[in-house]
Symmetry: C2
Subunit: 271 residues, 2 copies
């Protein structure tokens, strides 16, 4: 999916909601365990009831990888099931030396080489340019680079400062020489809402993927106030608050109610 298509989807759906498919076999409703592929069945029903409210789905790859080969099959089926006009994010936080990152890119982007067909993948910047650029060689595929994350450990290294510049600021500045806003986004945690305005100045045109609204404690209004640009420029993720809204047989309907609430709030913020 390219930049214009993504922006158009946000305008049409009046939503910038991303739903995180952090599907944990230990947390899904018991009655699903009798299905041949409980993880896929959970995702399928969640997608059925929520796809009208969101513009992106973000499977958290760890949840699938922790199940080994069968997890990869569930992931593949989930990806195939997501409607084609919805942006897909492999939340994998990969990053390795050039030729190895090339293989991760193949794994997530290259269906002709036996890989998956995600629109984007989250990438960790620690190893620098050659760990990121192999993902950019695929047309209409995106890198979503970690900048300022929402977890407690984000303080340990991301705020390190040389002269006037913090590490996460250097990541944003330097990486803009690798790709423009049509192929790069940044992960910016919503626990740092006041810093969003500053980060928006550093990268006026780029989309930000904002986790941490809901379970991690950020406020949607603040994120929109400080982070939105003329094309919206935001994908705000919610995972557990939506997909685990109910642990009963009504889980998919309960998820839809939560997704709809967020979507309606977003509609107001977009207008």
């Amino acid at each position: 999916m390219n930049y214009n298509e993504l922006v158009e989807n946000i305008r049409t759906k009046k939503s910038f909601l991303c739903i995180g498919l952090d599907t944990d076999i230990k947390k899904i409703p018991q009655h699903l365990l009798s299905f041949p592929d409980p993880v896929f069945e959970f995702n399928k029903q969640i997608i059925d009831t929520t796809h009208q409210y969101c513009v992106a789905y973000k499977p958290n790859i760890a949840f699938y990888e922790s199940l080994g080969a069968s997890g990869w099959q569930s992931l593949q089926k989930t990806l195939d099931y997501i409607p084609k006009n919805i942006f897909t994010i492999a939340d994998a936080k990969r990053g390795d030396i050039g030729n190895t990152s090339g293989l991760y890119a193949r794994a997530f982007f290259d269906k002709h080489a036996g890989g998956l067909d995600f629109d984007s993948v989250t990438v960790a910047p620690y190893m620098g340019k050659d760990s990121v650029t192999p993902f950019l060689e695929f047309k209409n595929k995106w890198v979503i680079l970690l900048a300022l994350t929402s977890n407690s450990g984000s303080n340990d290294f991301q705020l390190m400062q040389e002269g006037d510049e913090k590490l996460y600021e250097r990541v944003i500045r330097t990486s803009q020489t690798w790709a423009n806003h049509e192929q790069m986004m940044y992960v910016v945690g919503a626990t740092h809402a006041e810093e969003l305005a500053h980060i928006r100045n550093l990268a006026p045109k780029h989309f930000f993927l904002v986790p941490g609204v809901g379970a991690q404690g950020g406020s949607l209004q603040e994120v929109a106030k400080y982070g939105m640009n003329a094309d919206c420029g935001l994908l705000v993720n919610s995972s557990r608050n939506i997909i685990y809204a109910s642990s009963g047989k009504d889980f998919a309907e309960a998820a839809a109610i939560e997704a709809k609430k967020l979507k309606e709030e977003m509609e107001k913020l977009l207008s």
Copy 2:
């Protein structure tokens, strides 16, 4: 495997060689493609001929992941086939918020929960403490944290400096408050041999995993000179120079010749 066992294996085998299983379906000898699982068959034959010369094997997870579910099966079979007295490294460069890192830990460490049974996993430090500590909750399992890597992009962020301290130095200093040398190692690229002495001062007792000898250009003598401590404290990796020493039917014998050469050089350096 615990620290003392690892050191004892190095003493007994007179080797600190780690062999990287960067097994690429596109590079393995043609005649293997008729086997039901060519990637595993390649690894099996490499392990058969080289296990006496090395103390560790390091499958590069990207190579398996790029093959999807079948790649995970090849990885599982490879891990099961590696003799139990050889240290195993999942070169995965993972790292995510706490609960997600917990799932990656399950994927690589927890065979009782359907995961693999590696001794260690490489972890990227960008997201800080809570992205690393979930891996440390498993007894006799190790984190191998990226510090100063051997790729060209290592300059982009790892050398950023606040006051007297570079980012990679802060990673080494800070992470020593999370785990000691019995559960933590560092990735230190051999392209920075002269910096190894400095890094050895920062972490006198920790093992360093040193990639970049061979294909990436480092010198084994220099690595030993600057990096070795009383317990050796080094695992030096070679991947392509060994496993792709020949592209013919003699690939496993050719790999053994290269591994034996390195082992004999290491034996001299250890004495």
